[in-house]
């Protein structure tokens, strides 16, 4: 028997799901069909419209960038809850440079602003061994206080005030160029306005076809150049962290800094670099907010997206692709909120109900197999927990169904925390399958015993 076959057998004995990319494709396809069905049933056409998808992308990018920042930092073993503060610093520096010298300088300044926050975090956690979470909380308070202070000082006087600044906002910033695909999504070739085939297809509201058209059009119409840069950062992060010696060194610091040090990796320097890159990505997320998402800096603009980015990273199991999927999910829920989607969320209630029932059914179908293989108390507990999960799932699905049937729309105030409930649910369901870097969050001092 070959080793691969043995490994396969061991995996099947463990009884865990062994998913590969065809499975993922099937799951995504199934969810899409279900979404389309729900849209038709509830007549909520905004669920998969190109507007929603475009908003999803726009709202997912800051979360994605913050999550990538968290990924770099945590892969090197430093928990970075200060992402939010670094992002806030990025919004201010980005706006400050952006209104004076154009959006791309603003983007650069945003990155630098975030990096300064990252440097502070690195000094506190790596050099001084401060608890990572305390340092992060401090940076969040500091970032908020500093930007409010500086906004009051600089945006509220002289030239900036004349251009429309104030104590809580900056003067407007020129927009970054957007791209629209010609012919398919109605982009321009030279000065010729090409047809918008996907747009017309979308307007028919056909089952599945219009949904696909809406999604593709949402991604290909009016995409900002900075969004493109952010998307390219996903493969870039993967390649650097997983395919280069530098990335291997950074990850080794997150898994076992003592072993890394013994092999000659400069652990402190690696951590410093990783945390500064992390801050730079968070700063870029801030700069994205002030140049693409809105044309100016506003107080409280980040709205906790740094934290959600961190949650997206945990959802993605400390990996770039999972993180991207997580940020799209949060971006989608955020888009529902931003577009005042009481009707769309109402349709999604049905969507979630069906998924809950499907998961409960799957768990129930597993129980005979589990029961036949009971040998220890642990197995018994697993079986019991499975039953509890099934019951909870069915109860929740029933509750949602009643809610769905008894109302027409979900109130706007409740839509506002839709992303956060999703985060909480996803964390609660996924946390146990995850594995964070082994030395994540631990204090490391050169020359000290473990």
């Amino acid at each position: 028997m070959s080793t691969a076959a043995v490994a396969e057998k061991v995996k099947s004995v463990n009884g865990k799901l062994n998913l590969r990319w065809p499975h993922y494709l099937l799951i995504v396809g199934g969810l899409l069909i279900l979404l389309s069905l729900v849209r038709v049933v509830d007549d909520a056409n905004d669920v998969t419209s190109s507007g929603t998808v475009g908003a999803m992308l726009r709202l997912a990018v800051p979360i994605l960038l913050a999550g990538l920042g968290g990924l770099w930092s945590e892969r090197s073993g430093v928990i970075n809850i200060g992402l939010e503060g670094m992002m806030i610093l990025g919004t201010w520096t980005g706006a400050w440079a952006g209104y004076q010298w154009g959006p791309w300088v603003g983007v650069l300044a945003g990155i630098i602003g975030g990096m300064l926050g990252g440097l502070l975090h690195a000094v506190a956690t790596v050099t001084f061994g401060v608890d990572h979470i305390i340092s992060g909380v401090a940076i969040n308070i500091l970032g908020l206080g500093l930007t409010q202070f500086l906004a009051g000082l600089i945006f509220d006087t002289g030239e900036a005030k004349a251009l429309g600044g104030g104590p809580r906002q900056s003067p407007p910033i020129d927009p970054i160029k957007t791209l629209t695909l010609p012919v398919l999504s109605g982009g321009k070739i030279g000065s010729w306005q090409s047809p918008d085939w996907l747009g017309s297809l979308e307007k028919h509201h056909w089952f599945l076809v219009s949904d696909l058209a809406g999604i593709v059009r949402g991604v290909t119409a009016g995409m900002s150049l900075l969004t493109l840069v952010a998307i390219l950062l996903i493969p870039a992060t993967y390649l650097v962290l997983w395919k280069t010696a530098f990335g291997l060194r950074i990850r080794s610091c997150g898994e076992d800094p003592y072993a890394a040090e013994s092999l000659g990796v400069p652990v402190y320097r690696m951590k410093y670099l990783a945390v500064m890159i992390s801050g730079g990505l968070a700063g870029l997320a801030g700069a994205f907010l002030v140049t693409v998402a809105a044309p100016l800096y506003q107080d409280g603009q980040t709205g906790g997206r740094g934290y959600i980015g961190l949650a997206a990273m945990i959802f993605g199991n400390w990996r770039p692709v999972g993180l991207a999927a997580g940020s799209l999910l949060f971006g989608y829920t955020d888009a529902m909120n931003a577009r005042g989607g009481g009707d769309s969320v109402h349709a999604l209630l049905l969507f979630v109900t069906v998924i809950l029932i499907a998961v409960a059914g799957y768990q129930l179908s597993r129980t005979p197999k589990l029961r036949s293989s009971i040998q220890t108390d642990l197995d018994r507990r697993v079986l019991r927990n499975t039953y509890i999960g099934v019951v909870l799932g069915v109860v929740a699905a029933g509750g949602l169904l009643v809610w769905y049937l008894s109302t027409d729309a979900v109130p706007g105030e409740l839509v506002s925390f839709f992303p956060h409930v999703t985060t909480l649910l996803v964390l609660a369901l996924a946390s146990q399958r995850l594995r964070m870097p082994a030395a994540d969050g631990l204090r490391y001092r050169r020359g000290e015993a473990r």
Partner: protein, 420 residues
């Protein structure tokens, strides 16, 4: 993200406690080449005197000094004279009407910081204090406004229900942590946002609240006069303190909470269990304490105290939960708890200090300094406090190592001494 090392800057207990007792013993039986006696200040630092007291007070003071310096630098940059600005802050902050505001603010900060500190005691960071107290205040205000009960029962009902709601809201995070392994930091952040949404939903004239005529404020019905707590001024003037404003009648509640916290943490088995489960869940498990149970209980207690944060204001001043109800106290509580080193007395000092800064920063507007500079100071304080504690801990360990080294070098023969 459970870090077995204590992240909160509690007393550095991991340093060996009884290492340096040398000088006292060497004087008893002087060998022929007695080393020079260690100077008194050094001996005190090394553990003969009230060990570490100098550190405990010195470290926060140093951190405070650094943050004042940074604030002065920022004032300089913004074109104001730091010395005169700080002078006018102090002048404004010590007027009688300011003092009343400071004490009232400090009461809120104190309760909030105690709620955070309970979590810190077992290495739980309850960022959710903010959502817990707002939700508790809002729901209990609605309850208090809807019912009219004779004197002590109305107040008790509101207070107990606030504690229950705060505790239950915090329990969600605790249960998610022990059953599903969700970090309490993330779950409480999400619960804060959810609480904000729930409050926005309920604080609506179609639901639990009314629109106040003549303004666009929305508020829960006023608590009837039987259910209120009068100001403390009557008592204060009877002991000779006359103040121009109303001091919260529930100020003694905050003091009681502080004392109970101190006693439970330091003198009960429960407090010990809590600390052990925070420092090392495996050690707790081995001695028969369920660390998981302790996590849930601690979160509930923290949330229950968080529920109290809004009570002095609700029962003593506003009598309703409106859009103007003080917000963001939970985050200040984290800062105050860190600065006060999770000690009830230290927290009280830190709460007073922060209340003073908040109150007196109003005057900075006059000299052209944005009052948000206080936020900068708070952030800097947290960071420098954490760094200074760490430096002091390292220095202490080095001092101890050195004293052991000098002892060994002086030819101390422990075996011979034991035999004699």
């Amino acid at each position: 993200m459970t870090d077995p090392t204590d992240p909160t800057g509690n007393e550095p207990k991991d340093a060996p406690e009884e290492a340096p007792k040398a000088p006292a013993e060497t004087s008893k039986a002087p060998p022929p080449d007695t080393p020079e006696p260690i100077p008194a200040w050094k001996a005190m630092l090394q553990g003969l005197g009230p060990r570490g007291l100098a550190f405990k007070i010195g470290a926060p003071l140093l951190a405070l000094l650094i943050s004042i310096l940074i604030a002065a630098l920022l004032m300089r940059l913004s074109g104001a004279d730091p010395v005169s600005s700080i002078q006018s802050m102090i002048d404004y902050g010590t007027t009688q009407s300011s003092l009343v505001d400071i004490v009232n603010r400090a009461t809120r900060y104190y309760l909030s910081a105690v709620a955070v500190a309970i979590g810190f005691r077992m290495a739980l960071l309850n960022i959710g204090v903010d959502g817990q107290y707002r939700l508790a205040a809002m729901l209990s205000a609605a309850l208090g406004g809807a019912l009219t009960l004779p004197a002590p029962f109305g107040q008790l009902l509101v207070i107990v229900s606030a504690m229950l709601i705060g505790g239950l809201w915090a329990a969600i995070a605790g249960i998610l942590k022990v059953t599903r392994g969700v970090s309490e930091v993330l779950s409480t952040i999400m619960l804060n946002a959810i609480a904000t949404g729930v409050i926005a939903y309920l604080l609506n004239d179609k639901r639990l609240a009314d629109v106040r005529p003549g303004s666009n404020n929305v508020a829960t019905p006023k608590i009837p006069s039987e259910g209120r707590v009068g100001p403390l001024n009557g008592f204060l003037s009877s002991i000779g303190i006359n103040l121009p404003g109303d001091v919260y009648g529930l100020l003694p509640l905050a003091i009681v909470v502080g004392i109970v916290f101190w006693v439970v943490i330091n003198f009960t088995r429960f407090g010990f269990d809590m600390k052990v489960s925070g420092m090392s869940p495996t050690a707790a498990q081995a001695s028969g304490v369920s660390a998981k149970r302790m996590i849930v209980i601690t979160m509930i207690l923290s949330g229950a105290v968080a529920g109290l944060i809004g009570m002095p204001e609700l029962l003593g001043a506003s009598y309703e939960y409106s859009l103007n109800f003080p917000a963001g106290l939970g985050f200040t509580g984290i800062t105050v708890a860190l600065l006060g080193r999770n000690h009830p007395f230290g927290i009280a000092l830190a709460a007073l200090l922060f209340a003073f800064l908040d109150q007196s920063s109003d005057v900075l507007q006059d000299v052209g300094v944005p009052k948000e500079i206080v936020g900068v100071m708070q952030g800097v304080v947290v960071l420098t406090v954490a760094i200074v504690y760490e430096l002091v801990r390292r220095w202490e360990i080095r001092l101890q190592q050195r004293s052991v080294a000098t002892e060994l070098a002086s030819g101390h023969d422990l075996a011979k001494e034991a035999a004699a």
